[in-house]
Symmetry: C2
Subunit: 275 residues, 2 copies
């Protein structure tokens, strides 16, 4: 349950209703449990199971759901696909191979965009998933409006049931939420001004001049440009610049030999305690 | 192994080198096997394991890899992360939570684009994955240039190790291949021309006029527009139009009562045997 925060459940509740996941004759309860887990990861909650009585209650399902018991407990069982999908207004069938049916085929990302649009318009979307070994039958696929398939390595295309649910759920969650990562780089101290960056250049280059670092005068200008570009690529904050001043000073101070001076040439930008 | 086609291995071999997957102290051999399977799905092959001797050879790993033995057998073991990542030129750390490190954070899709660009420029990319329960330590994350995290339901954020590898592999494969589905809607018979579509309108509307379907003369025009739009949305092929002519004819022919006529009004577009 690493990373789970149940207090944030309200945020997920504000998402539009995600697609119903309709499992047709799933063979292993463990897979049904893994599907429930994948659904929970992406805020899907409507699990429907066709002709697999007991599979959501089995111990194997509970264990593999890794705590997504609420999805297993709310799952509904049906005797036919037609009953399971009766209320849905847009139905996708998932298949691993082309079945020669005259039906539009979407990758998960495009399917998720259609799902989000359809749900935003008040429609109710669902996804049909077939049996672990044999998938959906052709007549079952014909019940759907569209087909979803997965861009996978053709040399090794065996996605298991829960992985297929995971990928569609992931794309749906991205489409519904904008796909921003769950956190961002923390706000750092204010960015350094150009004057503060130039002050670091002066400090560093002054010390390097003292040591005779720029042995070849004709290359000095291009070496300095490179060093300045390296520092710019760091995008240093004011605090980063202070740290760099400190590093330059410490290296210069500790330097043995005729130029070792036991002092800093330039003051830091502000007192370190303020950082 | 449904959907797998080993003869297509050459196609995957033409992809740029995918990211190395570096597992730091994985705890369960089964998870290492599931990681190998997820890697194979998306044509990743470079598995590196840090401080988990024997985990790739264990029976549990082989079983859960579902045939991706080649990846387990080629996996390399290391005693330190530093050794495992020594040759990589761009390293991402995966984390479920913000760790307060001043490092850019990418969702998997953005990370995959950077990986593909970097690999296209001759670089070698890798991804660090932490322990199942506790993830990566802060000092381990500090080894990476960037962080990848997953847009997941904050109320249920527990992605397992193989699912995390699956999502990054999926996004990498999309970025490297363009993300087209593995197959498309089959080529149908040539699309119907406007003349052929208008001929169907004439056939259908003629039959409907015969039956008195348009009871309200002032609504006839708008009803006909709706019916024509329905047929256009079908995007009918020439063969679909033939089928529709056949349906209209069959329904009209079989109709009992004064208008039942036992004949078709219009010939099909071409002989059914040619279809």
């Amino acid at each position: 349950m690493a990373g789970t925060d149940r207090t944030k459940a309200d945020a997920a509740a504000l998402l539009p209703a995600g697609p119903a996941v309709v499992l047709v004759e799933p063979q292993l309860a463990e897979n049904v449990g893994a599907v429930a887990r994948a659904m929970a990861n992406f805020a899907l909650s409507d699990l429907r199971v066709v002709r697999a009585p007991g599979k959501t209650e089995a111990e194997g399902a509970r264990v593999r759901s890794a705590g997504a018991h609420h999805i297993l407990e709310a799952a509904r069982h049906f005797d036919s696909i037609e009953e399971a999908i009766a209320d849905l207004t847009l139905l996708f069938a998932t298949t691993a191979r082309g079945r020669g049916q005259a039906k539009p085929v979407d990758a998960p990302e495009a399917a998720a965009r259609l799902m989000a649009q359809h749900a935003a318009g008040g429609g109710r979307v669902g996804l049909l998933f077939g049996r672990e070994r044999t998938g959906l039958e052709n007549d079952e696929i014909a019940l759907a409006s569209r087909v979803v398939t997965f861009p996978v390595n053709p040399a090794y295309a065996s996605l298991n049931l829960a992985q297929a649910v995971l990928l569609v759920g992931y794309e749906w969650f991205k489409a519904a939420t904008g796909g921003a990562p769950a956190f961002e780089m923390p706000t750092r101290s204010p960015p350094g001004t150009q004057a503060e960056i130039v002050a670091l250049f002066a400090h560093l280059e002054g010390e390097l001049d003292e040591t005779g670092f720029f042995r070849s005068p004709e290359k000095r200008a291009s070496m300095i440009r490179n060093i300045r570009n390296m520092i710019h690529r760091m995008d240093p904050s004011r605090q980063d610049l202070q740290t760099l001043h400190g590093i330059v000073a410490a290296l210069a101070e500790g330097r043995p030999g005729p130029q070792g001076r036991g002092r800093t040439l330039l003051k830091p930008l502000k007192d370190p305690e303020e950082g």
